[in-house]
């Protein structure tokens, strides 16, 4: 960042040999190389974003082509923010975010810590554990629906086998109490390996000599864990939380397949509601305002978080 002003004026001539080259200048090459990417990103991301902002102030409906488009000012925003259903969706999203991250960090870190004991074959088992996170959430989520079937589902059967309950006596996806936890379970199953991998990298980045020094100081293992392991892994862990946070705020495919937002609206995460407004009810203007609110929320939260992360890193 510091040399940005210099960049603006200076020619890009990083190597001494540059003067010798024929043809295009480095600066021209740099722009030729970068501009297609920037152009594509502008077309696919920024232009749509601006368009969304514009639409969010109208009553436009994409399925009513001939209809007059009226400017409605902040009415869409007002409606969304004063609608109690919006806040219920936000709550459902917050519940999902908090508990998925909580469990993934807990289990992910524990696994990484165990794998770091370097038992024989740990590489192989790490690879196996990682598999779920690489798979299509829609396809896997759809299959989990089958596992959650009250009578015939394997999940219910296994739980019933351990608890002695009747496997048709509880409905993972159908009951208001259990459904929010069912989506947390599947997301945790899928994404714990992600946190695990990052934690493992953190653990492996701790040089042995720090522990050796601690041994010399006769610090207990427990003490070493809290004074060395945790602080050293923390920046990694926070990075993992950032990624999971952003991803789960956007969460759509997995939950759509599992519950579709039900029962009632118990698991209707914001992005599911957004999809309903935009592509089922076709209230394009309203949905655009909703999208902007979501974007501002995730961007704002992420920026605050990144600041905190940087502070931890610098320590």
């Amino acid at each position: 960042m510091s040399d940005r002003t210099i960049d603006r004026v200076a020619q890009a001539t990083p190597v001494r040999a540059a003067r010798k080259i024929r043809g295009l200048s480095d600066r021209a090459i740099a722009w030729i190389f970068i501009s297609p990417t920037i152009f594509l990103l502008l077309a696919i991301n920024i232009f749509p974003l601006i368009w969304t902002i514009k639409l969010s102030f109208t009553n436009f409906k994409a399925n009513r082509i001939g209809r007059e488009i009226k400017d409605v000012g902040f009415r869409n925003y007002e409606r969304i923010l004063t609608d109690s259903d919006t806040w219920l969706n936000m709550q459902a999203t917050a519940h999902f975010l908090f508990w998925t991250i909580f469990f993934q960090v807990l289990i992910g870190f524990a696994l990484a810590w165990l794998i770091n004991k370097k038992f024989r074959g740990n590489d192989l088992w790490t690879t196996i554990i990682v598999l779920p996170m690489m798979l299509s959430p829609a396809v896997v989520g759809n299959f989990w629906k089958f596992l959650y079937q009250p009578q015939i589902g394997l999940f219910n059967y296994i739980i019933a086998w351990f608890t002695g309950k009747d496997p048709s006596s509880f409905e993972m996806l159908g009951s208001v109490q259990l459904a929010p936890w069912s989506i947390v379970i599947v997301d945790t199953w899928m994404w714990t390996p992600f946190v695990m991998l990052i934690c493992l990298a953190g653990l492996r980045s701790i040089p042995d000599y720090i522990y050796e020094a601690a041994e010399v100081d006769r610090a207990s293992k427990l003490r070493q864990f809290f004074t060395i392991t945790i602080p050293m892994v923390l920046p990694f862990l926070m990075l993992a939380v950032l990624f999971r946070g952003i991803e789960n705020f956007k969460m759509f495919d997995l939950v759509v397949q599992l519950t579709g937002g039900g029962p009632g609206s118990t698991t209707e995460l914001t992005s599911i509601n957004l999809k309903r407004e935009a592509f089922e009810k076709w209230r394009t203007g309203y949905a655009s305002a909703y999208a902007i609110i979501l974007f501002v929320t995730v961007f704002g939260l992420a920026s605050i978080y990144v600041k905190a992360l940087n502070r931890v890193k610098q320590r």
Partner: protein, 312 residues
Amino acid sequence: MSSFSVTEPSNRSKWIAGFLVISYALITMIPLVWILLTGFKSPADAISYPPKVVFDPTLEGYVNLFTTRTRQTQEFLNANPPQNWADEIVRQYDMVIVGPSKFGERFMNSVIIGFGSTFLSIFLGTLAAYAFSRFKVPLKDDLLFFILSTRMMPPVAVAIPIFLMFRNLGLSDTHLGMILLYTGVNISLAVWLLKGFIDEIPREYEEAALIDGYTRFQAFYKVVLPQAATGIASTAIFCLIFAWNEYAFAVLLTSATAQTAPPFIPTIIGVGGLDWPAVAAGATIFLIPVMIFTILMRKHLLRGITFGAVRK
């Protein structure tokens, strides 16, 4: 490793750690194993209670996945003997195979769009990454952050204007539209990952080449590209997996011509009633390539999933 090392865990703690990790791995595999098994069950076995672990394997699910069938009258069935083993299987339900299902097409769409967008992302991404890595680009950090931030948008949010844009340009439900879209999403990952890989290639190689009279372009593709081959390959696989798994855009912007497999597989139904063996068969075929790639990629996995932020 030296037995004197204080950081080396004791055998007992290794044993316990191994036991716990392996238990977790086995539990986490259960749903995947169940997908595989269900694909080889008959519909009746698939929904039996209690769930069957031991069953007569059948290819019914796979036959149902790849074919469309109709119910026929007894006279018709008697008059037309089954033509092959697959036909034989569906005959037990008084049905005949009348043609292929859409699964093959949808799967091919996944392949076309996946590879198309991966190729484009890698092509554009390598160029941009090289420029970011080797040249002083004005506002470099801002541009790089901008590229990353495009990933924060919920896909459903961007989908509204993209839907309108595609409608106006005639790109709705086309392969080209989806390739461009996935490239737009993937390119941030490609640039960030590739920049990391190219950063790791010593500049001296190119400088030597430049002194030897190579142009910048020549140095780029004759020296840098071969050096970055592994990095490019692993980046490509990450892009491919993303495009392969993507659901939200696919379900909102495609309908038949360019629909990929993820929106399609959950909607596989039999003749009346959900056909779980066929769904499982489709899932198996769809997931296996990704599993293989994951195993091949295990060394670069961490890097891929963190946009190169963590490199080990």
